[in-house]
């Protein structure tokens, strides 16, 4: 009877065994990485604050007019507003009742993702000293206010590194896998108890050592079965969902940039006022007003960099990489990891700037 029971157990285990395995995640290592990142970036920020104070004192030597290096903020009126009008015209055209929409709009409808060109606007928004050349023309030299450019870039890197580490940690501490392992753990414990009982009860040649691998096999098989079914379901759904997710993300990307226009314009007006204040400042007022102008430019660029359009593009890319990884895990896993991290970074940046405080509190 016991020999038969043993054979049946092996059969059950073998039947349950399917391809695939549960990936192990280095939880502790990821947590350590997050905590260390927090500390390193906080230390960097402290150092940066001191450096900024010194730099402002340096800039106060001699009263000079300042301006932005390019047409900072003009993109809102010259491009974004125009594209918003074009999107609206095409939408009206498609929504016309009775299938007789009249002539199509003459503008070229922005398609695909609408992502704000950050590098171009950063170049245009550097604060610098206005210099006049021999022919009476003027230009703005950012090198005369040296460390402002470097600091704005590096501080953004620090903040993003922290956000990335925090997101990674959240991924590693997902409770779903733990619940499954716990269930399998119980099954294993029950199996070992059963083996022990068989040995003591029947006084047969069935060894405890022989039962160990069988219980492990059943446990592993159950995990594999669940993971395999989860994998199959995900693969099927993600394949079907990918074009829809991409299209949805594109629509949201375009709409969010239009939503952003008034906020960018308001922030740009604040920069405009702050520069006017610096240019009308007395020698005593110059340092304080320059600081306000810098803060205004930082606020404008912060708003611009938090571009929700870019986060929707990252969403679509991450989903596409998920689809590829599910198709071939060996080749797609690294790309999925990178794309997911990029998405987390962009979504978090947009969330921090644009989500309402009440929504944040509710988590």
């Amino acid at each position: 009877m016991l020999r038969r029971l043993r054979v049946e157990m092996i059969c059950v285990a073998a039947a349950a065994l399917v391809a695939g395995c549960a990936p192990s995640i280095y939880k502790q290592e990821v947590l350590d990485f997050k905590q260390s990142s927090d500390k390193a970036v906080e230390a960097f920020d402290g150092l940066r604050t001191d450096t900024k104070t010194l730099e402002l004192l340096e800039a106060s030597v001699g009263k000079q007019k300042i301006d932005t290096t390019g047409a900072c903020g003009d993109i809102v009126e010259k491009q974004l507003q125009r594209d918003a009008g074009c999107l609206a015209a095409w939408a009206r055209y498609r929504a016309a009742p009775g299938g007789q929409p009249g002539p199509p709009p003459t503008c070229v409808e922005p398609t695909g993702f609408y992502v704000l060109p950050l590098g171009q606007e950063r170049d245009a928004c550097h604060l610098g000293v206005v210099t006049t050349n021999a022919s009476g023309g003027s230009s703005v030299d950012p090198l005369q206010l040296p460390s402002s450019i470097l600091l704005s870039e590096t501080s953004a890197i620090g903040a993003k590194l922290r956000d990335y580490a925090a997101t990674l940690n959240e991924l590693a501490t997902s409770t779903d896998g733990e619940a499954l392992q716990s269930a399998v753990g119980k099954a294993n414990a029950a199996m070992e108890s059963l083996a022990d009982r068989i040995q003591r009860t029947a006084k047969t040649d069935l060894k405890l050592e022989a039962m160990g691998p069988v219980s492990d096999l059943i446990g592993a098989s159950l995990v594999s079965a669940l993971e395999y079914r989860r994998y199959e379901a995900m693969k099927r759904i993600v394949d079907r969902a990918d074009p829809v997710v991409t299209q949805a993300a594109q629509i949201l990307s375009r709409a969010s940039v239009v939503l952003l226009i008034p906020r960018l314009r308001a922030a740009s007006n604040v920069v405009n006022d702050a520069i006017a204040e610096v240019n009308r400042a007395s020698e005593n007022q110059f340092v304080a007003r320059l600081g306000k102008a810098r803060a205004a430019v930082d606020d404008y660029l912060g708003l611009y960099a938090a571009d929700p359009g870019a986060s929707f593009q990252a969403m679509a890319i991450a989903h596409q990489k998920l689809k590829q990884a599910l198709g071939d895990a060996r080749r797609g896993f690294e790309a999925l990891k990178t794309a997911t991290a990029d998405f987390a970074e962009k979504a978090e940046a947009a969330y921090k700037v644009f989500a309402k405080p009440k929504e944040k509190a509710n988590g």
Partner: protein, 125 residues
């Protein structure tokens, strides 16, 4: 380094003029007013800021109108429907996952019963 436009003289724009301007013209006027504000003296500044703020409000109203049109694009409804269908599929798959999890729990339970049975059996062997 980006090329800058030459500073312009402060614009003398009346409210009635603003009403006639198109979206593009309003945008260009706003860029010129901003350039003028940067170098304006105390006397001109309040008037220039007032014109800029009115231009800003008018352009923002265009954005609201554009958003209304964009929101009515029939493509949006299509995508919403497709996403709703996919969500239903995912819910079905999630239910299947829960069933598998229950199977594991049941296997554990059965092994427990067998263990108990053998404990009882041991008394008679």
């Amino acid at each position: 380094m980006a090329k800058k436009e030459e500073p312009t003289r402060p614009l003398d724009v009346a409210a009635s003029d603003l009403a006639r301007l198109t979206e593009d013209e309003l945008g260009n006027a706003l860029a010129k007013i901003r350039a003028a504000i940067k170098d304006a003296d105390e006397e001109d500044l309040p008037r220039l800021r007032d014109v800029r703020d009115r231009l800003t409000k008018r352009l923002d109203r265009f954005v609201l109108a554009d958003l209304g049109s964009i929101d009515r694009d029939p493509r949006i409804k299509d995508v919403v429907n497709q996403l709703a269908e996919l969500t239903l599929n995912i819910q079905t798959a999630a239910r299947e996952m829960r069933t598998v999890k229950k199977t594991i729990d049941r296997a554990t339970e059965i092994l427990g019963y067998v263990d108990q049975f053998l404990r009882i059996l041991a008394r008679f062997v």
